[in-house]
């Protein structure tokens, strides 16, 4: 029997500034009925471009140069645009990464689903309101009767993604393309969505084409795996075959770089000398944003972004602050540095620290692309803080310090005269770290420093951070949503939920023996592979 979808020798290029740049080069793969096929790769590997090519929805600049895309023997690249419309949304359903932008903001959920029904369903039930309701029930949405008339902005992120799935299912597709379906979602929501996709696949028997960068998800979901890198498919194999030991070096490095919970037991813990005064103690630290209403804008309440937090960070310690999006962890970090006004409570820094906060506490942000002024050279970026905080330093000593920091974070001293846009994401994050360390801080607040980076780059940055901590005797407040990363770097962990700290403790204790239900919930949501339970055969000889 033939395959459901077969892609042969597909090549796609993008026109950039008059030059054709290849995005996908001569790839071939197939998807069978009822199976889950995972296409794994890092950002820019060409995996999303492949999916859009199958739907013939490439942006204007993209061109399919050659190849065949056969669905049940019909080459989709040769059918007319009109009959392509019966495939899109009909035989092939799609879910995109970010449900907050992928839904039309001015149409209700019901309208958007009915649109699919009107095109693809030929029997009488297409205009029946029960049909929409059934779809919404199928994807596990609550209060479906009111949900039908809701607008996307009234739903949570997870609910929006469920609506996207309902929309994709409305045309009763044979193939569902899920392009990074959970990347924009919190880890607990991610687990629910994956579970839903699995359940629906079993119910309907459709094929699922999962596009992701996360091997944990692949391990949990896929029957077969293909690894994509720089426009090429490096290897394809079955689930068992792949996780037993990937054939290609690149796949192995991906698998190895993935942060796992068990890692917290494998690495040496920090020796605590015990008598040190803590670097920073917070008591009842709060930050409330007033809610104003009415004619005179009276304050009627407050949004408690940070609510009575008490914490301590020891000298040379890494404290991980873990929580889902919106729990207030970033707000806490910024308020600590005085970047947000209105904080209350006690903040006690160690006695030997003099001067004002910027001279001993610094911050590294999540997005290395937004964290540097594009109009300044790397040298200017790094020296900016020294100029403001160490006005007594001479020009040459600033320059020397700048070169020193660049080398310390693994770049060249000569990079000083280049501009940020000439560097990759990982390199930019190194520059940001250099900028923070140049003013000789004692505490560095790392606000999701690796979330915007690919897994392999993330591993390097984490290693660099560990190394720098030893070398300069730093303390870190490591803000993250990723428990795997916590296991890699943290000495102690504080779990934050709705502005409050619900659990603190040594990293091994919190991750392996959590006391609080919320912490357990976070851990259970992780794909099994992220636990580190899956041992790689032959892992030993490679290390």
């Amino acid at each position: 029997m033939s395959h459901l979808l077969e892609v042969r020798n597909l090549a796609v290029s993008f026109r950039r500034g008059g030059v054709m740049q290849p995005a996908v080069e001569q790839i071939s793969f197939h998807i069978d009925r009822g199976e889950t096929f995972a296409l794994v790769g890092e950002s820019g590997s060409g995996k999303s471009v492949t999916a859009l090519s199958v739907l013939r929805l490439l942006p204007m600049a993209g061109h399919i140069l050659s190849g065949e895309i056969c669905m049940d023997g019909v080459d989709l690249l040769r059918v007319s645009e009109r009959s392509m419309g019966t495939y899109r949304g009909g035989r092939i359903g799609v879910i995109f990464q970010d449900p907050s932008t992928a839904l039309n903001p001015v149409m209700t959920v019901g309208q958007q689903i009915r649109e699919v029904l009107a095109i693809h369903v030929r029997d009488d039930s297409r205009s029946h309101p029960a049909r929409v309701i059934r779809l919404l029930q199928q994807v596990g949405l609550p209060r479906v009767e009111t949900m039908v008339d809701a607008y996307p902005h009234q739903l949570s992120g997870g609910q929006r993604q469920r609506v996207m799935i309902a929309m994709a299912l409305a045309g009763e597709p044979d193939l569902l393309i899920a392009d990074e379906p959970t990347t924009a979602l919190d880890v607990t929501i991610q687990a629910q969505i994956l579970e839903l996709l699995q359940r629906i696949q079993q119910e309907t028997g459709m094929a699922l084409w999962l596009i992701t960068h996360d091997l944990g998800i692949v391990h949990q979901m896929a029957h077969r795996v293909a690894v994509m890198h720089q426009g090429h498919i490096l290897e394809q194999s079955t689930h068992a075959g792949f996780f037993a030991g990937p054939a290609h070096d690149y796949s192995q490095s991906l698998l190895k770089a993935m942060p796992r919970i068990q890692r917290c037991r494998e690495r040496p813990l920090r020796e605590t000398s015990g008598h040190d005064e803590p670097l920073l103690v917070l008591e009842d630290f709060s930050l409330h944003f007033p809610i104003r209403k009415g004619l005179l804008k009276r304050q009627v309440g407050a949004f408690r972004a940070v609510d009575q937090v008490s914490l301590a960070i020891g000298q040379g310690e890494t404290l991980a602050l873990v929580g889902e999006s919106g729990c207030g962890k970033t707000t806490l970090g910024k308020a600590l540095l005085g970047l947000l006004p209105g904080a209350t409570g006690t903040v006690r820094w160690a006695r030997q620290l003099g001067g004002h906060i910027p001279s001993f506490a610094q911050i590294v942000f999540q997005d290395p692309y937004a964290a540097m002024n594009p109009r300044m050279t790397v040298g200017e970026v790094i020296e900016e803080g020294m100029r403001a905080l160490r006005p007594d330093w001479t020009l040459s000593s600033r320059r020397q310090r700048c070169d020193e920091m660049l080398v310390a974070v693994g770049l060249d001293a000569g990079d000083r005269i280049r501009y940020p846009h000439e560097f990759s994401g990982g390199q930019r994050q190194r520059i940001c770290i250099a900028r923070a360390l140049a003013v000789e801080p004692r505490l560095v607040i790392l606000d999701e420093p690796t979330s915007a980076l690919d897994v392999s780059v993330q591993a390097h940055i984490l290693a660099l951070l560990r190394d720098l901590r030893e070398r300069y005797g730093l303390s870190y407040l490591f803000i993250t949503h990723d428990l795997g990363v916590v296991a890699e770097v943290a000495d102690r962990v504080a779990v934050m939920f709705r502005g409050q700290i619900v659990e603190t403790g040594e990293v091994a204790q919190v991750l392996l023996n959590p006391r609080e239900a919320y912490t357990r919930q976070l851990l259970q949501a992780l794909p099994p592979l992220r636990w580190g339970a899956c041992k790689l055969t032959g892992d030993k000889d490679r290390i």
């Binding site: 799609v94 995109f96 039309n104 903001p105 649109e115 607008y151 929309m167 045309g171 004619l295």
Partner: protein, 325 residues
């Protein structure tokens, strides 16, 4: 919603006060009423008595802010500021410098203004949106290139040339419509044809380009890709999804000028000799009738602020994401 509206109304008050003080400064403080009188009566050979009579007839001979010669509340009310500026808040426009009742003039002249401005706006909107949709539908083809080039060329021509050229070609050469003038009732239609047509044509270039930019911004959004991934054709995605979202900035941009339609278009009305508020203002400027100009400045500001308020309300009607709090 209600509290929001009340608050916005209250916010409009300081704005109006600001406008009022600004115009008062312009008209009475920078130049004294004597200057105006001298200007009206001719620069030379003017006797002080004539000036005094002119200012007295028009009530400009009182003190500006504070009348020491009076008692009680009259200290403040018997002043130019109170008489000429505060009255505007109650829409007491008073008499023009030529002695006409401004309010009656406005009442009478706003209808011809509306008769021109409303069809021009509606037809112009339809034409511009259709042209922009066509440009978007044929994007990245030669149609779009030459269409956009035509738009740039059209918007590089001064509106005066559209009017002069149109009057000459359609009115004089081909005799399709009267060149200028106005009549009441159904008769007005003949006279409105040319000005409406020309103001629509004059606006196509910049209008179509502006709407095209709005559409382009929407076309690249993720939800349009979703719509096409659902199986919608290019045209359906354009009409049902892009147009609906782009209508938000378009509508709100139109709403803000809706109240201003009352005061009409200065240029069109005076070229076509339409007895509306636009030509009223132009005439007042020409005859240097400060009372009328002052009244029109205030009226225009009130209508603009009303437009801002209507814009906010229209947002809640067309955009489900916006709630007035």
């Amino acid at each position: 919603m209600m509290t929001y509206l009340v608050r916005r109304m209250l916010y409009a008050l300081p704005l109006l006060v600001g406008v009022n003080i600004l115009t008062f400064m312009l008209f009475f403080v920078v130049n004294t009423p004597e200057d105006m009188a001298r200007m009206h009566l001719g620069q030379k050979h003017v006797t002080p008595e004539a000036i005094q009579q002119w200012t007295h007839e028009r009530g400009y001979d009182q003190p500006l802010f504070f009348n020491g010669g009076e008692a009680g509340s009259k200290v403040l009310t018997e002043t130019v500021f109170y008489q000429k500026s505060v009255g505007l808040f109650l829409f007491r426009f008073g008499r023009s410098d030529a002695g006409r009742d401004i309010k009656a003039d406005i009442r009478q002249r706003m209808w011809p203004s509306l008769a021109i401005a409303v069809p021009s706006l509606v037809i112009g909107l339809l034409v511009n949106i259709s042209a922009a949709l066509l440009l978007i539908f044929f994007r990245l083809t030669w149609m779009e290139f030459w269409g956009s080039a035509l738009c740039v060329a059209l918007m590089s021509v001064s509106s005066l040339f559209y009017i002069i050229g149109g009057q000459y070609l359609l009115g004089r050469l081909w005799q399709l419509a009267p060149i200028s003038g106005y009549a009441d009732g159904m008769e007005a239609f003949r006279f409105l044809l040319l000005p409406v047509l020309l103001s629509v044509v004059a606006g196509i270039g910049s209008g179509a380009r502006w709407y095209r930019a709005l559409f382009l911004e929407e076309v690249e959004r993720d939800y349009v890709r979703t719509a096409r991934a659902k199986g919608l054709s290019e045209a359906a995605a354009l009409f049902r999804h892009v147009l609906r979202n782009a209508m938000i900035p378009i509508l709100t941009g139109v709403v803000v000028i809706l109240p201003l339609l009352f005061i009409g278009s200065l240029i069109t009305e005076s070229f076509f000799a339409i007895p509306g508020l636009g030509s009223y203002t132009i005439d007042a400027i020409g005859q240097q009738d400060f009372a009328v100009v002052r009244a029109m400045v205030f009226l225009g500001s009130v209508l603009y602020i009303l437009g801002l308020l209507l814009t906010d309300i229209s947002y809640t009607l067309v955009d489900p994401r916006v709630r007035l709090e």
